[in-house]
């Protein structure tokens, strides 16, 4: 039953035409799969796939105080982003919890674009607006200006550059370009562990670009494959692996926190880093049968030891994988754990990142 309140991306008609299975996701009606999650997953690992991620939000931050403001709200050292650079960071609360995880692109001297998770977009905007007081900066919601396509896979760059006749920036860079006679941003980023780019384009040209890439042999992929791909390489999903109740330190994201910049939450994060945390987020593999799912209890030596935050069947490894917050003394790779999958104890082992590596 269609929910009238669900939002649709500019590519909704294309998804419907391809026979996608559409599901509600963070208030949007999104394709979860077209031909099957395993096929789409394999296309990205071996060829090229594209994802409509237009539900993601965009916030523009501009003005003489942009750097000082972003330095205050983002966990990473924003001063190190050169023109045309990209950076991953956390947006933290005053207690150091993760409100969202985001990419920031520097589009101009005093102009930055932040890409938010759709479920957090409104809250992020309110948070940024509130903390921008006192800074000479404008914070604008520009989510309606962009459709977003992630084109990922070992052949993604080649096919895309040829199909659209554009030059692509290297990894972790953003280039201003023109696609379909409209301004576009081409970002050397992604969420799959494969090479590729993310396109931020005018919603009006999204359908013809989608059609062109489809003709060029890029495989349409849904959120299902997006999730299996990201979990195989241990990329975090906010709302599951990252929450406002956990610091980046226990999530394994200490590398993108530069407390010396004095960002909101830095004190709590410095303390967590110094004193250690009771639990840590670890990747794990199931040994044998069983597929772990979010919320499954983790046990060690028959004692409660944590809980799964993300779990799935890994199409590349053909076994159950996941991430879980466990007692810090169990975080060492190789540690034996058990996952309580709906009453059945499934043996597993803490692994190192990433769970899947090419070759």
């Amino acid at each position: 039953v269609a929910d009238a309140a669900l939002r649709r991306t500019p590519l909704y008609e294309q998804h419907a035409e391809l026979g996608a299975k559409l599901v509600p996701f963070a208030g949007w009606e999104m394709p979860v799969t077209y031909e099957g999650i395993r096929e789409e997953h394999a296309a990205v690992r071996t060829h090229a796939g594209m994802f409509d991620v237009s539900h993601m939000g965009e916030v523009e931050v501009e003005g003489p105080g942009a750097l000082a403001f972003l330095q205050r709200v983002l966990s990473n050292d924003v001063a190190t982003i050169g023109l045309g650079g990209a950076q991953y960071s956390c947006l933290c609360g005053e207690e150091g919890g993760v409100l969202d995880d985001l990419f920031t692109y520097r589009l101009g001297g005093d102009r930055y674009l932040i890409v938010t998770n759709s479920a957090n977009h409104e809250a992020d905007l309110a948070w940024l607006g509130r903390w921008s007081r006192g800074f000479d900066v404008a914070v604008r919601d520009v989510a309606d200006r962009y459709a977003m396509l992630a084109v990922q896979g070992p052949h993604a760059r080649d096919i895309l550059a040829r199909a659209l006749g554009i030059e692509l920036p290297p990894r972790m860079r953003v280039a201003r370009s023109r696609i379909g006679a409209r301004p576009a941003l081409v970002c050397g980023t992604g969420y799959t562990g494969e090479d590729g780019v993310e396109l931020l384009i005018d919603p009006e040209v999204a359908p013809p670009i989608w059609a062109e890439l489809l003709d060029a042999g890029i495989v349409p992929c849904g959120l299902g494959a997006r999730d299996t791909l990201r979990l195989e390489v241990c990329f975090h999903l906010h709302g599951n692996d990252l929450t406002p109740d956990r610091t980046p330190i226990e999530a394994g994201l200490g590398w993108c926190c530069k407390e010396a910049t004095g960002f909101i939450g830095a004190e709590a994060i410095a303390r967590a880093r110094r004193e250690g945390t009771a639990e840590k987020l670890v990747p794990f593999k199931i040994e044998g049968a069983g597929i772990p799912r979010e919320g499954n209890p983790v046990l060690a030596a028959d004692e409660p030891a944590g809980a799964v935050t993300s779990g799935t069947f890994s199409p590349s490894l053909e076994l159950g994988i996941g991430m879980a917050y466990v007692r810090a003394d169990l975080a060492e790779p190789g540690t034996e754990i058990e996952i309580d999958v709906r009453g059945k104890l499934r043996p597993g082992r803490v692994a190192s990142k990433p769970l899947y590596r090419k070759g």
């Binding site: 799969t33 299902g224 069983g290 597929i291 069947f313």
Partner: protein, 133 residues
Amino acid sequence: MTLSDAHYPDDLLYHDQHDWARLDGDDHAVFGITWYAQDSLGEVVFYDPPEVGATISKDSSYAEVESVKAVSDVIAPMSGEIVEINDALEDIPEKINEDPYGEGWLVKVKLTQPEERGALLGAEEYRKMLEKA
């Protein structure tokens, strides 16, 4: 993976939770999930069967099938005792997608209450139920 179009054989009995039963004599039956069930679930990657000898009850879960994305309980269309499970599904669970009424069968059961068949749907009734949903 090539999936067939929706189909619901006339010689089966159907449970409204999208399970089928193929009667074998008066007191045996084979159970599985319908085309609709496998299509809703997506590619099955894991089948967690019951033990041979286990007692199962009509309308209760007796097994699980999982796709990449989701897990689904399999509901018994009739009551009985498990006499055989489809071992082949351990290695190739995708048979449940490819051939849900043939090689994708789940269990063979000795029925303890064969008269429960009266409560199941015929193919035509099941198809009508799906159209209304």
